[in-house]
């Protein structure tokens, strides 16, 4: 039985050049080996940070159940496909999202449905000091991989468990992904215009944020172990992270007893605290082009009025100070939108920023990548080559350090690319045993 994934790997292994061979890593996490069971967006992003800063992250994959980011049809040189429109028999090595999420990691394949596969990952855990996973609760247990068992295999192990609901409680087994987490945690309800359905989120914000919280928790555990020699189990619930992101409105409910189920909530683009006005997103020249403008004080208002050429309407007593403008935002926004609609969003951004008015064009990915001078100057994106995809861009880590650097050594692993390195060089499997496991479909 040879599926398309195996064929692809076989052909690429022959072409594989030595510069993709694993090398010693640099960075604060060098020397830490991670047996990484994470998959999907949230798990992959969580362990990406470790791989970027020197840890040897060994991504454990299943040839039968291919990781979703490998399958989403985000392909170079092909027409636009929505992410639900997956191709039948898609090449798992062409997925752009996977490349972005799993760069700097090693990739191995193991069939955990087999006894020999389970024995193999136990050997990998013995050789590792961190284990990470984001399966539904119960999956790791089904393979016998409890924290107690992991400690037998690797005494000071860090066991990072990431899930939507956390590993206890009556809904621990509930299924979720980014948008469900956003709905359940309150982040969708608090986003939208008053008096209509929520607009919520046009992205899996909580795949990103939960990943960041999980990266942080992993680093906390590593720091603790460096100081004390002690490992730990970690339980991070994406929903609990999400509720922490809802913000001060939660205290308006719990301290003041105010309900958010009221006709004037949520406030859309207006800002209730502090009473900023104008505060909104206004049309500009072009199709579906917009600019955000946020005025917090009288000086910013005076500058805005000057940039507009001091129109008569701005003298209206209804717009005399912040409180008056806040109280008359419908009229204010109407006047402002008439003015912005006649201008280019980038020209307006320059004019307003030059006078100290917080304003910015609503940029899309093309704007960020092809014209944003700040993103370019700070090196937010970077490139690496990939044997199937070719040269490709990546989203970097947006922190600049004075004495730590991201260690980019390779684009994302092809499916099973590092089987020989990990199972033979790291774990010391003999040639005949390795060949047998491959022939049996264990790896």
């Amino acid at each position: 039985m040879m599926n398309s994934a195996m064929r692809a790997t076989a052909s690429v292994t022959q072409e594989q050049t030595t510069d993709r061979a694993p090398r010693p890593r640099r960075g604060p996490l060098a020397g830490i080996r991670v047996a990484d069971f994470c998959w999907m967006g949230v798990g992959s992003v969580a362990t990406r940070l470790l791989a970027d800063f020197g840890a040897e992250v060994i991504k454990i994959e299943d040839r039968i159940r291919i990781d979703t980011p490998r399958r989403l049809p985000i392909y170079k040189g092909e027409p636009a496909r929505n992410f639900g429109e997956e191709l039948v028999d898609a090449d798992p090595n062409r997925g752009g999202l996977f490349n972005n999420y799993s760069r700097n990691k090693l990739g191995v394949t193991v069939n955990l449905r087999t006894e020999r596969g389970r024995a193999l990952v136990e050997r990998l855990i013995v050789a590792s000091s961190v284990v990470s996973e984001n399966f539904a609760p119960g999956v790791m247990e089904r393979w016998g991989l409890t924290y107690d068992r992991l400690r037998e295999l690797s005494p000071d192990v860090i066991y990072a468990r990431m899930s939507g609901y956390g590993h206890s409680g009556p809904h621990a087994h509930y299924r979720s992904y980014g948008p469900v987490v956003q709905a359940v945690s309150g982040l969708s309800y608090t986003s939208g215009l008053p008096g209509r359905e929520p607009s919520g989120w046009g992205l899996s914000y909580m795949d990103n944020q939960a990943a960041y919280y999980n990266s942080t928790a992993l680093l906390m555990a590593i720091y603790h172990r460096m100081r004390t020699g002690e490992g730990t189990e970690i339980d991070v619930s994406a929903i609990e992270a999400g509720i922490n992101l809802v913000g001060p409105v939660l205290l308006d409910v719990t301290v003041n007893g105010h309900t958010t189920r009221r006709p004037d909530f949520p406030p859309g683009n207006r800002l209730e605290w502090p009473h900023a006005a104008p505060h909104g997103v206004y049309p500009t020249l072009g199709d579906d082009r917009w600019i955000a403008i946020a005025v917090f004080d009288q000086a910013q208002w005076a500058s805005l009025v000057e940039v507009m050429g001091a129109p008569d309407w701005a003298d209206d007593p209804r717009f005399a100070d912040q409180e008056a403008r806040y109280a008359h935002q419908d009229a204010l926004d109407g006047h402002l939108a008439e003015w912005t609609a006649e201008h280019d969003r980038f020209e307006l951004t320059e004019l307003l920023q030059n006078r100290g008015v917080p304003a910015g064009a609503v940029q899309d990915a093309e704007d960020l990548n092809e014209r944003d001078p700040q993103v370019a100057a700070r090196g937010v994106f970077f490139e690496m080559d990939h044997p199937v995809i070719g040269p490709a861009r990546f989203e970097g880590n947006p922190m600049l350090f004075s004495s730590v650097a991201q260690d980019d050594w390779r684009s994302a692993p092809l499916l099973g690319e590092d089987n020989a390195y990990v199972f033979q060089q790291v774990l010391g499997l003999a040639d005949d045993e390795y060949d047998e496991l491959a022939a049996e479909g264990v790896i």
Partner: protein, 404 residues
């Protein structure tokens, strides 16, 4: 449930002293997390208080520096010290605090920092071991470093806003609620700080971590960049579901109790489809979806309008909670669009002891969300209310004077 080591156990950060010069959530959240895990976080404020104290809503309508719920939310478990940095005594006091600190968190923009004599280099000079975490709208370098921003402006320039809003594009993109621009910056600042702490364990040296909110949001739109990196297409906003290259079907449904649920009908997926039809059928509301022609994904796709109508009707006859429990019991990823009010009654969060009651100085206690990390090896500190302005000035500067 991971119970950690209990109230008297060791804390992750009980050896860390932190000086916080932060006026917005991008820095305050970082200090809050450190404090919740045991660090001594001293928030150094000007005589009038940090700007975040002036942001409402306010507790029981008391509009003053000690009743901002914005400040309360982002500053739990910290101590507050007032230092007038315009005076020689104030500058000396801050220097002494920094000399004994492990971490300094600052949200001063480059121009402000230069004017105040508090640039990252000046802060960093306090000691070899000091880690300075700077979180600013655009970072410390680049042509936009001194531009002004806000949560809304940052989300616009950084691009997540381009993906959020309604199907109707005569409505502008809509800012997601909360302070998510600042929160995104805070998350990267937190990760950067942890990497710097790990590095310091090995070298004994501190360093500067420079985080720009704009950069954080530029990598914060999930699929939008990969869609540009690879097929070179732009995603377009849709109501409460992923922005995509081309329009997709609605994913929120109104329920009989006027609440909403998020649910995607994956017509292409056989198992999920069967679970959905069985669920509808258990309420005698599957109509013709039980017919054999609907076993074919292509047929389902061709008749999606009808499928959508049947499902819309079904949800109108359920409450959101009922739909949540029953759908999840059938293995479907469905979630109610909870309001903040709804969260307090959630049985799962209650079983995990997530919300914790916090005592206040002069208003009744209230529930706060708990720490979003659980470890078996150590616990969080019990949640303590945010400090009043200058509440610990004498205690901190006095103790530190005694040490000299």
């Amino acid at each position: 449930m991971l119970d950690g080591t209990g109230p008297d156990g060791p804390r992750l950060f009980d050896h860390l002293k932190v000086v916080e010069l932060a006026g917005d959530p991008s820095g305050e959240v970082v200090g809050k997390v450190l404090a919740q895990l045991g660090a001594d976080v001293v928030k150094v404020e000007p005589p009038g208080g940090a700007p975040s104290r002036a942001v409402g809503p306010f507790a029981h309508g008391q509009v003053d520096e000690d009743h901002s719920l914005n400040f309360w939310f982002y500053n739990t478990n910290k101590r507050s010290v007032v230092v007038d940095h315009s005076t020689p005594d104030g500058r000396a006091a801050l220097r002494r605090l920094l000399a004994g600190a492990d971490v300094c968190i600052t949200t001063l923009r480059p121009a402000e920092a230069a004017a105040a004599g508090l640039t990252v280099e000046q802060l960093r000079a306090a000691s070899e071991r000091l880690i300075v975490v700077s979180v600013t709208p655009f970072g410390l370098t680049g042509p936009w470093a001194d531009r002004v921003s806000s949560d809304l402006v940052a989300l616009a320039l950084g691009s997540p806003l381009n993906s959020c809003g309604y199907d109707d594009h005569s409505i502008p993109p809509i800012r997601p609620g909360g302070d998510q621009g600042y929160q995104s910056a805070a998350s990267f600042a937190q990760m950067g700080l942890m990497l710097a702490l790990v590095e310091r364990e090995q070298t004994g040296q501190g360093q500067v971590v420079d985080v720009g909110m704009h950069d954080c949001l530029a990598v914060g739109a999930e699929l939008a960049n990969p869609y540009w990196f690879y097929p070179k297409v732009i995603v377009h906003r849709q109501t409460c579901r992923h922005a995509q290259p081309t329009p997709t079907q609605p994913a929120i449904f109104r329920c009989g109790d006027d609440r909403w649920v998020y649910f995607v009908i994956f017509v292409a997926e056989q198992k999920g489809w069967q679970s959905l039809v069985e669920w509808l059928d258990s309420h005698d509301l599957a109509v013709d979806l039980v017919q054999p022609e609907y076993d074919d994904p292509t047929y389902r796709q061709q008749h999606f309008g009808h499928v959508q109508e049947v499902v819309e009707t079904f949800f109108l006859l359920q409450t959101a909670d009922q739909a949540y429990r029953e759908g999840q019991a059938r293995g479907l990823a469905i979630g109610p669009i909870n309001s903040p009010d709804d969260l307090l009654a959630d049985e799962h969060l209650q079983a995990r002891g997530f919300f914790a009651e916090v005592e206040h100085a002069d208003v009744p206690p209230a529930l706060y969300p708990g720490v979003p990390f659980r470890f078996s090896a150590f616990d969080a500190v019990g949640l303590q209310r945010a400090p009043n302005l200058g509440e610990h000035t004498a205690e901190v500067l006095g103790a530190e004077a005694d040490e000299r």
